[in-house]
């Protein structure tokens, strides 16, 4: 769908000749009868920030723990930089991990925490000191070198954990919910810092998160997981704009879903009749359907237009009543009850400070969207 827009030099996953840095081949993990991870295959390239995104219990953490060596796959293969990881214990792997709880050693100072991994490698004292100092300044924790973890704030601990995991210059850094314990404001700042650090060191990141916003801002690509399987892999843009399934469309952002049946299969378009919408949906291209086939169309709230007057030329339009308005500051979200009874979410940026003509509760409105705004997903 969108491959044409991607340039191959910046997107190694689109280049058939590129060698993946981390290869996960048909990994399955069972705990007794429970299948935590089912037949997952993934290629991750050097320098990527790859996010495994999914709800709790979807198997993303188990997959990460297998990469780190804390769990043994039931079947399948993990290859890092050409080296099969099977049978290699966690302490001998070329990867490092940043734990969700940060897992700082409570009895050691910040400095000793960061130096621990280098000491285990038996590096000379002066080199350890240099590298620890370097890391401390990279994460801006110079003044806190002599503190113990319990004397630090959450954000500071997060930095120490990151420094400790990065100081060994791992080929691959795994981050388990790296920003999960931080409050919203700090999380937003830290996200960009994390990207900056990743870019300056060139380390490949694999991030596990349940926070779709975090995944969208951090990653080069996202793998959406549910019930132990990866159901879609793609750039944040692809995942958001071209979800291949209902689950993905629903999980990332919010979405309006209309079910219907194909009533017309033209050369460059199909028309889907939707009882839910109370009208027909015109989809220009990209799909083919047999007449009578069931389909669902997903439309993002910000792509829906809302107006008191008829939307004119727009093909996909229907009328309704404003049921609820949520004012969010930067935008407003409207719940519109269609004449069919279905509720539609519409979001609109608040471009002006005061709008005398603003939409109000119980206003009769038209909602509609452009031909190419809707995405057909498997229902």
């Amino acid at each position: 769908m969108s491959e044409g827009q991607l340039t191959t030099d910046a997107k190694p996953w689109a280049d058939p000749n590129a060698t993946p840095f981390l290869q996960i081949k048909n990994i399955t993990k069972k705990f007794g009868a429970f299948v935590a991870v089912e037949n997952v295959s993934l290629d991750i390239y050097k320098g990527e920030i790859f996010c495994l995104l999914g709800g709790s219990g979807c198997g993303k953490s188990t997959l990460l723990r297998m990469l780190a060596g804390f769990e043994t796959p039931t079947s399948g293969q993990i290859i890092v930089d050409g080296q099969d990881q099977a049978g290699i214990p966690p302490y001998a792997r070329p990867t490092n991990m940043m734990f969700q709880s940060y897992a700082l050693f409570p009895h050691m100072t910040v400095e000793k925490n960061i130096a621990y991994g280098l000491k285990r490698d038996g590096l000379p004292k002066n080199e350890i000191a240099t590298r620890v100092t370097e890391m401390l300044s990279l994460v801006q924790m110079d003044q806190f070198a002599a503190r113990k973890p319990h004397q630090l704030s959450g954000g500071q601990r997060q930095r120490v954990a990151l420094a400790r995991a990065l100081v060994k210059k791992p080929k691959l850094l795994m981050l388990d919910e790296p920003l999960g314990a931080l409050d919203k404001k700090l999380r937003e700042e830290t996200q960009f810092e994390l990207i900056k650090i990743q870019e300056s060191l060139g380390v490949t990141f694999v991030v596990v998160t349940h926070d779709q916003e975090e995944a969208m801002t951090l990653s080069s690509r996202i793998g959406v997981m549910t019930a132990g399987e990866i159901i879609q892999t793609g750039t944040p843009h692809e995942i958001y704009e071209y979800p291949q399934s209902r689950f993905v469309a629903d999980f990332i952002g919010s979405v309006n879903m209309f079910e219907g049946r194909v009533i017309e299969d033209g050369k460059d378009h199909v028309v889907i009749s939707s009882k839910e919408l109370g009208g027909d949906i015109y989809v220009p291209h990209g799909i083919s359907g047999v007449e009578g086939q069931k389909m669902a169309v997903a439309v993002r709230p910000e792509k829906v237009r809302i107006s008191r007057t008829d939307l004119g030329e727009m093909r996909n339009k229907v009328s309704g009543t404003i049921d609820e308005i949520a004012y969010m500051g930067n935008s407003s979200v409207f719940q519109v009850r269609l004449d069919s009874g279905k509720r539609v979410r519409v979001s609109q940026s608040n471009l002006t400070r005061d709008d005398d003509d603003a939409l109000r509760w119980d206003d009769k409105v038209w909602v509609g969207w452009a031909d190419d705004a809707g995405v057909v997903v498997a229902s």
């Binding site: 780190a68 804390f70 214990p89 966690p90 302490y91 001998a92 792997r93 990867t95 490092n96 991990m97 734990f99 969700q100 709880s101 897992a103 700082l104 050693f105 409570p106 009895h107 621990y116 991994g117 285990r120 490698d121 319990h150 400790r164 995991a165 060994k168």
Partner: protein, 267 residues
């Protein structure tokens, strides 16, 4: 409100008086000049001096200290191993049974513990000729047995609270399992080990019943000596001795409590 808070104060005062009046009177009478235990004859420290001239008491105190030291160390070792098995190993069939059994000596009457250990030692002597005679060694084993139960409870609570991922983090950073234990696990649970050791030490120092059962000729602990002295009539130097023991035990309790507090804060 006023009435309520006064009522609380009076209740608290009565409660503490009930607990501590006997002990305080004992401490006061240990400085009594008179030979009659119940008649005040002026302040004196002569019973303390007398006490330190009594070879029987000094000998018993030394025996008790030795026993307490060795048995506490054994108890902590056994308690640590038991706690690890109960907390760290994934579910095995006898696990809940074992965890119940480890705490049983806490609620078992001492008389029964003492008697059963005595029977065991006698039977073992008959079967394998060890332990040859009852004395310091058997008391140490007996004290380590119930001390381990207390130690296991203290250490388990610390292990449960410990974040497993810090051990994984150490491994991830290149430490082999044995290194992880000494670099991370041990320092983290160290406060609990100290508390457990102090607890086991104090319990051993206190014990009369179990020691009386499993002791033999020539091995009298301090509580045993005091008890036999009192049976012949209370002499004032026992008050002096009791005061010293109260001082030591309270010191132990205070140190333990401080340690517990500190370890909680450091979690």
């Amino acid at each position: 409100m006023q009435g309520k808070s006064r009522f609380l104060k009076i209740t608290a005062f009565l409660g503490f008086a009930f607990l501590y009046a006997p002990i305080i009177s004992l401490v006061i009478f240990s400085f009594n000049e008179s030979k009659l235990v119940t008649v005040w004859g002026g302040f004196s420290t002569k019973w303390y001096a007398e006490l330190f001239r009594d070879p029987q008491i000094l000998e018993a105190a030394w025996v008790s200290a030795k026993i307490a030291f060795v048995s506490a160390t054994l108890a902590v070792t056994v308690g640590t191993v038991a706690s690890f098995v109960l907390i760290r190993f994934s579910k095995f069939r006898a696990k809940s049974l074992l965890s119940m059994m480890i705490t049983a000596p806490l609620v078992m009457p001492e008389v029964i513990i003492g008697l059963s250990l005595l029977l065991l030692f006698v039977a073992m002597e008959g079967l394998i000729g060890w332990p040859g005679s009852r004395g310091v060694l058997t008391i140490i084993i007996a004290h380590a047995t119930f001390g381990a139960a207390y130690a296991a409870v203290v250490i388990q609570s610390r292990l449960v609270d410990m974040d497993l991922s810090i051990e994984e983090a150490a491994q991830d950073l290149g430490a082999k399992p044995v290194r992880v234990f000494f670099d991370v696990t041990l320092p983290v649970i160290a406060p609990a080990l100290v508390s457990a050791w102090l607890l086991a030490f104090t319990l051993s120092l206190d014990d009369l019943v179990v020691a009386s059962f499993v002791s033999g000729p020539g091995a009298s602990t301090l509580p045993m000596v005091i008890f036999s002295k009192v049976r012949l009539g209370v002499s004032p130097d026992v008050n002096a001795l009791a005061t010293i023991i109260i001082g030591l035990v309270s010191l132990g309790i205070i140190v333990t409590a401080l340690h517990m507090n500190r370890s909680k804060r450091n979690l």
